[in-house]
Symmetry: C2
Subunit: 273 residues, 2 copies
């Protein structure tokens, strides 16, 4: 039994079109005269934190700004949302345009909207996280920058970005390198992205997104250790991963290593039981 509300307008309408419901003539009339621009509007941007793990280090794709504001500082790839696309679509479009990356894992992270975060005016940015394997990351036409997260637990917050130069393969030099200047609030965005990635790693199968299609258990462990910033127990890690149901042995083995070759696995979506 559906209750019917009294008509707000006395006009007769066809039976199948409710007087005031979704799609009604009444609503159509309302929408026709509705002025959305009566309110002032901010600009909406989308920024993407592209992560990868190279040589055991967590890296983020950053480019050097050539224009004002914050000219010369490092910034996340991003841009303004278009009126005909969803936020996810905007992130994927910008990822393809600015980094040449397609078919990557993209997920919305958080929306930053402090009034003073951009000197150009009121710009709200919807930050996203993308995960790519090292080979595709290196091939992308973006500067590679290492991110060193100050290990203060799970705090998030700002993150130090260290240029990846000669120090790349020298941990001592890396530790002494000075942090680069980061544009806008992007250091804070990266900080939250690292925090989120660390959290997801424990209870969702997301580490595979940072590896090629086939990989060894050691490579997967390296990913986890680089993201977490500490070492994990090898045996229990192997047991846990193999028991998760997300791994499938390919029967192939790694080649060209000087030790016993490990078996290659691939990621399988766990059956929905």
């Amino acid at each position: 039994m559906v209750k019917r509300r009294p008509h707000s307008a006395a006009t007769a309408t066809p039976l199948d079109l409710p007087a005031t419901g979704r799609g009604s003539a009444d609503e159509q009339a309302f929408l026709a005269q509705y002025r959305l621009d009566a309110f002032e509007r901010p600009s909406v941007a989308v920024d993407i934190v592209v992560f990868t793990v190279i040589d055991g280090h967590l890296e983020v794709a950053l480019y050097e700004r050539t224009e004002h504001p914050d000219q010369g500082r490092l910034a996340l790839p991003g841009g303004f949302m278009r009126m005909d696309e969803s936020l996810d679509d905007a992130a994927r479009r910008l990822l393809a345009d600015k980094a040449g990356l397609t078919d990557v894992f993209v997920e919305q992270l958080y929306t930053f909207g402090e009034p003073g975060r951009d000197p150009r005016g009121r710009i709200v940015t919807v930050a996203h996280v993308a995960l790519v394997d090292a080979a595709r990351f290196s091939a992308a036409p973006l500067l590679r920058r290492l991110v060193r997260v100050p290990w203060s637990g799970e705090t998030g917050g700002d993150v130090d970005v260290v240029d990846i130069g000669a120090a790349a393969f020298d941990d001592d030099a890396f530790d002494e390198a000075a942090a680069c200047a980061v544009a806008f609030d992007h250091a804070s965005i990266i900080g939250m992205a690292v925090k989120r990635l660390r959290g997801k790693l424990d209870y969702t199968p997301v580490g595979f997104q940072l590896l090629p299609a086939e990989f060894t258990l050691r490579q997967l462990q390296d990913i986890h250790e680089a993201v977490r910033g500490d070492v994990v127990n090898k045996d229990s890690f192997r047991r846990r991963m193999l028991a998760s149901g997300h791994l499938e042995a390919t029967g192939n083995h790694e080649r060209g290593v000087t030790w016993r070759p490990a078996e290659l696995y691939r990621f399988v979506r766990r059956s929905a039981v």
Copy 2:
């Protein structure tokens, strides 16, 4: 030993004011002529999912829309962001205006920006989650509506909203009640909010936000069971909570119950070690 990069500009400038850096005259000039409104902009709204637990059921604050579009349907409290406030500030302001709630736990959830989600035009909404104890929720001038989450694991997705009438204290009638019509994509927003709340409950001390300042372990367990939608082991729950370091015994006991009164605890922020 810190390496120094060569200057990009050869012009002599005062030592403290870089030629092109943040706050430089060059940047000022750029900003003065920058036209942010060259791009079309969407409207930015903020919606809040206010949760509480009453009589063992997870409830959400919804009101019936009196205007087009989706007139007569149930909707989340919300509104448009102002140009001089942050997103969190907007959420708190709207919570106070629309529900009379202040000093509550508020956290950003997710931003919804599908092009067709609002017939009035392009409106991006930044959804938030707020947690209130039952007493304050009931006193707020909003309709109470029960939310029944179809227990399909962690899927999120749309959620059935069931009117809380005579069925409130009768689980059988509640199960048979038909779902109410929900405006816009708000059923989907609530679904994601439930999913997020369930996830946070396991590894962050957030359940306390749904209780008064002093509470018994049984009340806390009821919160967890209502949010998770299943039963938890009483003994291990007590052990885990007491060992978490978040609980502090007050020495007081509950009154007016017909059984042995339980001790009252209060929430303490865990000391930073």
